[in-house]
Symmetry: C2
Subunit: 457 residues, 2 copies
């Protein structure tokens, strides 16, 4: 790892060169580098915590001046119980994952002795931009080395001392490994982000890990693809045939398990037929958990007549903007979906339209007893994740069984939904022959392609 005061362009160019060496290293060489990083960080715990304490000291002053939020201070603090050990364990966890490089997913005989193979290979150079959390360096360096990608890391200024300490240790650890030192570059110069975002000749993919504003900024400025999502406006639609207990459990979990998460629910759509039956149970459970409900007129009227006075007094009226807001807090917007007795699917279609118009294409769920209704909902909703009778909170790389999570993507190309190591791969085609030319094929008397599917060996 280079702790670079070089220009963004120099950092990016040397990362690109190193990426080609990294791409040719076998699994054991990359795993050995991860072991070396793990052990070196464990040995340097005290130095790193001392550096982090210096960051915290400055942060405390900024916080007292009102320049820094308490939540950023919390994220910055590496001395919190278990945090350092979690960082070390994270390296071991990534090391234990299957090697994502060189997986063959297509083999075709084009002709006798002319064999085509498609296999995974690293993307090249990743630019990872993150904010306060210093342990992200170790996490990202592990993911990059495991996936044989070079990485340029750009961190927030609050954690400069911690970054420098961690990167110095990683740099030293890499010296004893086969992974080129320039594979992981830390850029500490101020305001280098925009310059980096233009270097599409060297940088292949940007992964912003931080606030919505950071992601939006990258999406607007980057000359290369950006992996991630800016907003997480998730909705749940309660259909007329929903099970009441299920609706209560799923909505309460989706809203209250971790309200600040991108996969928490922000809007509940409820079929008009059940606003007097299921909705009061859902609303009552939410209010008991401290959730503020912003209701459209029909749902507010229904709830007012069913909820006990102390709860109904807490109801608020929804403004239009509430249905386009990611609250990231214990606030939920509720909209009634009217139905047409002549068209049994009209309500589902209205819910789909609402979600496609107001949502952020992240994760949306339906509660229904009918597979046909669930299928219609899942086909119509234009989101990365469509859930049936379960919490939106399951949208997560670890929960999906990917072993790690690079981020959650709402992109329409490359990777979508929770992204594991596979999202840091692209494929290449290898064709092996014994002298064939294309002019030998087709026409009258020419050879014919066999296009025989071969087993993946």
């Amino acid at each position: 790892m280079s702790l670079t005061n070089a220009s963004p362009e120099q950092a990016a160019r040397s990362a690109k060169i190193s990426s080609r060496t990294l791409a040719t290293l076998p699994t054991h060489a990359r795993n050995a580098a991860l072991d070396a990083i793990h052990d070196a960080l464990a040995d340097a715990r005290e130095d790193i915590l001392a550096a982090n304490a210096r960051d915290m000291e400055l942060a405390k002053k900024s916080s007292q001046n009102g320049e820094l939020s308490p939540s950023i201070m919390k994220r910055l603090d590496l001395s919190r119980k278990g945090k350092f050990d979690d960082m070390l364990q994270g390296i071991k966890d990534v090391r234990a994952l299957e090697d994502p490089v060189g997986r063959v997913d297509l083999r075709t005989e084009l002709d006798e002795g002319l064999i085509l193979q498609r296999q995974t290979c690293p993307i090249g150079v990743l630019l990872i931009i993150f904010e306060a959390r210093p342990e992200v360096i170790a996490n990202i360096a592990s993911l990059a080395i495991k996936s044989a990608n070079a990485a340029i890391l750009k961190g927030g200024k609050e954690s400069t001392e911690s970054f420098k300490a961690i990167s110095t240790v990683i740099s030293k650890a890499l010296e004893s490994s086969e992974v080129p030192n320039d594979s992981i570059q830390l850029v500490t110069t101020r305001d280098a982000i925009d310059g980096l975002l233009e270097l599409s000749q060297y940088i292949d993919l940007v992964i912003p890990r931080g606030s919505n504003d950071l992601v939006k900024h990258c999406q607007q400025k980057a000359h290369m693809p950006v992996l991630g999502h800016a907003d997480g406006l998730c909705s749940i639609y309660i259909h007329s045939d929903a099970d009441k207990d299920m609706a209560v459990n799923v909505v309460v979990d989706s809203k209250t398990d971790y309200p600040a998460a991108c996969n928490a629910v922000e809007t509940v759509l409820v079929h008009e037929e059940v606003i007097d039956t299921i909705l009061p149970a859902v609303a009552s459970a939410l209010i008991a958990k401290g959730v503020v409900l912003r209701c459209d007129e029909a749902s507010r009227t229904a709830l007012s007549s069913h909820l006990p006075k102390d709860q109904s007094l807490l109801l608020q009226s929804a403004a239009d903007a509430d249905f386009s807001t990611e609250f990231l807090d214990l606030i939920l917007a509720i909209r009634t979906i009217t139905f047409d007795p002549k068209s049994p699917t009209a309500a589902i279609d209205t819910a789909i339209d609402h979600i496609n118009t107001h949502g952020s294409h992240h994760t949306d769920a339906i509660i229904t007893a009918s597979k046909a209704s669930a299928d219609r909902f899942c086909s119509g909703v234009d989101s990365a994740c469509k859930f049936w009778n379960c919490s939106t909170r399951f949208c997560d790389g670890m929960r999906f069984g990917f072993g790690t999570e690079v981020g959650i993507s709402t992109n329409k190309v490359h990777a979508r939904g929770p992204v594991g190591l596979a999202g840091l791969m692209i494929h290449e085609y290898r064709l092996a022959g014994n002298g064939q030319g294309a002019a030998m094929y087709g026409g009258s008397g020419g050879r014919q392609y066999t296009h025989r599917k071969l087993p993946l060996s």
Copy 2:
């Protein structure tokens, strides 16, 4: 298909809305629409050819004024033998391909009764920008409908009359089908490209089909991903242990089979040890086919002493720029790769460096008898396609057995190399449960995820 004089924004918005309906249509509905388009175009052959004749009339005048190249006129002419029938057959061929939508490629039990599934789904709205060839409309409309993507088509002004005629026929054919009319939009307003390239809220992917300048323009201006390649600077490296006949056959085919293609070879790198043995045979065969050779000093000296006078007189000296030039013509640059007897892999590594620096990451080949050398080359070269002992001309969707080709991508994310229908897909996750919430899992006493891999059913 709408023949729209609407604003680019209106066209894009209505394409987006239609795309959600299209995404829910079953295979047979999309195939029926392709049949209807095929039959309607066959019936309207005379009207379309009459419209094309009007385009040709105008083009002839522009050509006489020197404003239009003869090659564009050739591409514009739909009345050339077999062209109309090929267009019709192309629709049938796309119809016959397997449905790319809804293919399940991952099924995991997260817990009993909580089943995760990843499946392919259409990307949404494609913007296809193309130049003179009017038959591309039918081809692209077929690919879009088959893959359940809406498409906005923007054609070159030379073929306006042909486009209008074909699109009117397709529009009428779609009226009798379940495919929404707005799914295929033809934009004929002048200079609408830049406006369309900014509409990332409606358009998910741009596919430019035309000149390098068009592709570069899209890459620079588009706010959404661009699928394709601007340059095709392909190289072949002849290693010291190459078979002479194989080298001759592969290089001659790669250069002369179709010199204007993106997968034709532009640079040959040759190991110093074989510039007096293999290279003269390769050079002689190329010159006999009319290829002009631009040689570095060592290869020129060697060839001058081995080739007959009439051939050696035709040799040219290479300038630096020749090794960064996509000639698209019967011109080839030749560079000698020096070797270090102490390091048997140094020559391969030099060839790799040359290709990664000067090439366009499209298709590069090695001629060698050694699998180890081929593997080293393939791992080191940063290209979509790496070929061993066969012509670069095999880089092609039809030849790879994909049934159709949307284009060839040098992108590092999403799709790379020849792109078939699979490149017009993204995936979605569907999770089905029976009321589970995330708070039930983990911690002490919480449920554990099973993460059991299920067969793809």
